[in-house]
Symmetry: C2
DNA sequence: CTCCTGTGTAAGATACTGCTTAAATACTTA
DNA sequence: TAAGTATTTAAGCAGTATCTTACACAGGAG
């Protein structure tokens, strides 16, 4: 969990995840998408993502192909369910209840969301 | 987005989010849950969470009460939808298709998930 | 005004992250 | 075997994060 969230906290690694989401792609092709950083740096990011279980690798000759492993996000997704979906729904229900008894306006005041 | 994910990448901050999820709770009461770290450290975590928009604060006299602001997770939750829900569903559909034409077994091999 | 409580801010030590360059490994091809 | 390609590993450095202690600030009570 901690490893997962630290892994996706980095923007480069999230960009890598976008690249490997729909298709397999080689390390070199991944690195080509980041001209600003060196290949070793990309390789280090890939290792972190593999260790965190977020991507998997397939070796084919010289090259290594990476792809998303969505299961790796399962635990973190559960955290979001607990901390986002459920509380937000509760907030919504509270707002509806406020409409019926419009005494106190407390939930998310006049903030331009 | 980056700020959000970096904020929740820290285990102490996630624990704080758990505390403020269902109820308002004062800074001191939050700090009391973390005997291992000092009060200023907790205060710094709170500031990071507020800045990231994940919690909100209400001042009442001396004390400050914190509570979850689930909207703060919306953008990150969308990322999970893209990177977890959707790919996982695609994976599932692919597996079902494999069942009909059991030629290649490639998705999530004999790994004890 | 003065003291006490609750909380945040400042400054500094330490540890970690992410990057780079240089070198190593592994496979392929001549 | 030797050279070339794809990729990772090693070592080191700059920037950042997190913690601590010491201090400052704000509100309530006497």
């Amino acid at each position: 969990m901690d490893e997962t969230l630290r892994a996706i906290a980095d923007p480069t690694r999230r960009a890598i995840l976008m690249l490997v989401r729909d298709r397999e792609i080689s390390a070199g092709d991944i690195a080509a998408h980041f001209p600003a950083i060196s290949r070793p740096a990309v390789s280090q990011h890939l290792r972190i993502l593999v260790t965190a279980g977020l991507i998997q690798v397939r070796r084919e000759g010289n090259r290594r192909f990476y792809r998303l492993r969505p299961h790796g996000l399962t635990e973190a997704a559960a955290f979001f369910e607990t901390m986002w979906s459920a509380p937000l729904q509760r907030l919504k229900q509270a707002a509806e209840h406020e409409q019926h008894t419009p005494a106190t306006a407390e939930e998310e005041p006049t903030e331009p969301c």
